[in-house]
Structures are given as structure tokens and as C-alpha cells.
């Protein structure tokens, strides 16, 4: 049985989806689908990431897009190292 993801794992999954687009803007529905989140949770996490400056938001008409910032990329680099370390010890994040 799969364990529930921690808050950090969910944040990482959201950022990973945005980062995978390699600088392109991402629609929230795409993140919702790829990160396997409810609308409410996605909104919460996107707000947190916006507050921390890891992502930018662009609004065009009725559409909202998200893009990763250099700070977000730096955070992801560190997070990848942390994930590897926790995986090596078998103490999940």
C-alpha cells in the first residue's frame, strides 16, 4: 500500500511538474493532473510557493500560468540532494 505523501513531497511534486516544462509556463490543470492533487490542496501549495518566490504567476485573460523562478530551481537542486540522502539512509522525507 502506498504511504501518504508528506507536505514536502507534495511541494516537490508540484515544483517538479513546473520545472519539467523547462522555463515554459504551466497551466494549473496540468499541475493538478500530473501532481495528483485536489484543487483545494493545489491552490494551497501554489500560494505557498508563490509566497516563497519559487514560482511566478502570469494571468492572460481567463487563463493562469505558472513558471519556476531561479530561486525555485535552486530549491529543487537542494531538494534533489536531500531526497538522495534520505533515500540512502532509508529515512523518507
Amino acid at each position: 500500500m502506498n504511504q501518504r505523501r508528506s507536505k514536502l513531497q507534495v511541494v516537490a511534486d508540484v515544483l517538479r511538474v513546473i520545472e519539467m516544462e523547462q522555463g515554459r509556463r504551466v497551466k494549473p490543470t496540468h499541475i493538478l493532473y500530473k501532481a495528483n492533487l485536489s484543487h483545494k490542496l493545489l491552490k494551497e501549495h501554489l500560494n505557498t510557493l508563490l509566497q516563497k518566490g519559487y514560482i511566478n504567476v502570469e494571468i492572460e485573460g481567463n487563463h493562469t500560468y505558472y513558471k519556476i523562478t531561479p530561486e525555485g530551481q535552486k530549491f529543487m537542486q537542494e531538494l534533489r540532494k536531500i531526497e538522495k540522502l534520505s533515500q540512502a539512509f532509508g529515512l523518507p522525507i
Binding site: L79, S86, A88, G90
Partner: protein, 230 residues
């Protein structure tokens, strides 16, 4: 109680303790970074464990330096060090400081794994029960449990074996090279304690034990390098 060191290995052990201490500091620093990211209790326990382990090697390093300085005349053909000699404060400080801080470190390490598995109590408790059950066997097989030195190494074997079980479970799950390095690191540290226990039988095991310790911490350092490279 005396510790017998082969002459050709004279002073190498201090260097190995120093290397283990430095790697212990690195491990505590990176586990703190891990805790800083996750704020999870098991990562804090991991950080505290490595602080104690690094401190234990600092203590034995300091103690060993004094013993080498004072006991060099006794090297014929092996060097005989008496950690209980009341004349030498640093030797006693080093040894007993090492025994106590090292055991605290291992206990924290075991606790961090136990804490991470608390949802699966059966698995968490099995190695603990196994460790308790097997301890009389060790007493029967090795009837030399009469000093702090021996008790320390037996307790360390039990604690580290407990950690090895978790790292083995993790390796079987992830099949990653980094988790294999952590597993081999702890297996080698377990061997270090086992070989140290066998010193009364054969002086060369002192050198073999320290090589095992070096391999153990080297393995953990290699894992840290792999994790932190871009």
C-alpha cells in the same frame, strides 16, 4: 584490561579515529540540512546521532595520542595499552568518553530508524527482540565479558546490527547504490566492533578492525560525495 596493538600498526589507529571524526562531522552537517528541509524527528535524531559519534571519535583520538606518547616503550613486539591506568587522565577520558558518547550516538541512530518505522511496530520491535534474544548467545560464545571494553563492543554490535537490518531492508526496497553504500558502511562498522572484541585472541585483529572502521566511514563519505555532486 589491556589493549594490544601490533607494532607495525602503531599510531595508525589515531589517524583512522581522526578521519572517522571528520566524516562524522560531515554526516552530522548534512543530516542537519536534511532536518532543516523536512523538520522530521527522525532526521533530527540522525543529526544528533552523528554529533555524538563524531564526539566519540574526538575523545578516543585525544586519548590515543596520550597513550602513544606514554606507552611507546611497551612496544615489544606488540604495544600494550592499559586504558585503566590511573596515571593518565586523557587515556581514561578518551576511552570512557568514547564508550559513552559512541553508545549514545548508536542509540540515537537506532531510535531514528525505530521512529521512522513506528507505523509498523512489528517490524520495528523484531530486531530489538532479536538483539535481546541473541545477547546471551554472545555471552556463551565469548566468555570474556568482564570489562567495559568488552561490554561496550557487545552493546555496539547489538545496536549496529539493529541499524544494519533497517539499511538492508532499505537497500532491498530501493536497490540504489547510495543505499548499498550506507548498508556496507554500517556492516563494516559492525565488523569493527566484532574484531575489536576479538583482540585478546589475536593482536592483528586490532589492525583489521581499524581497516573495517576506515572502510565503513569511507563508504559513508563516498555516499555523501555521490549525493552532493551535481
Amino acid at each position: 584490561m589491556v589493549v594490544i596493538v601490533p607494532l607495525w600498526f602503531w599510531e595508525f589507529s589515531s589517524t583512522i579515529y581522526f578521519i572517522a571524526m571528520v566524516i562524522g562531522i560531515f554526516l552530522s552537517y548534512f543530516s542537519f540540512k536534511l532536518y532543516n528541509f523536512t523538520s522530521k524527528k527522525q532526521h533530527l535524531l540522525l543529526h544528533i546521532a552523528f554529533i555524538f559519534i563524531a564526539a566519540s571519535f574526538l575523545a578516543i583520538f585525544v586519548g590515543n595520542l596520550e597513550s602513544y606518547y606514554n606507552f611507546q616503550s611497551s612496544c615489544n613486539p606488540n604495544c600494550i595499552i592499559n586504558p585503566n591506568d590511573p596515571t593518565y587522565f586523557w587515556i581514561r577520558f578518551g576511552n570512557y568518553g568514547y564508550y559513552s558518547t559512541s553508545l549514545i550516538g548508536y542509540a540515537f541512530l537506532a531510535l531514528s530508524y525505530w521512529y521512522s518505522e513506528k507505523k509498523n511496530l512489528r517490524f520495528a520491535l523484531l530486531p530489538a527482540v532479536g538483539a535481546i534474544v541473541q545477547s546471551p548467545t554472545i555471552y556463551v560464545l565469548f566468555p570474556f565479558v568482564n570489562t567495559y571494553f568488552n561490554i561496550f563492543h557487545i552493546l555496539s554490535i547489538l545496536f549496529v546490527s539493529y541499524i544494519v537490518l533497517y539499511t538492508l531492508k532499505n537497500y532491498r526496497k530501493t536497490k540504489s547504490f547510495n543505499s548499498l553504500l550506507v548498508l556496507s558502511g554500517f556492516v563494516a562498522i559492525d565488523f569493527y566492533h566484532l574484531l575489536m572484541y576479538l583482540i585478546p585472541f589475536y593482536a592483528e585483529t586490532f589492525a583489521l578492525a581499524h581497516f573495517a572502521l576506515l572502510i565503513g566511514f569511507g563508504s559513508l563519505l563516498f555516499m555523501l560525495i555521490r549525493v552532493n555532486r551535481k
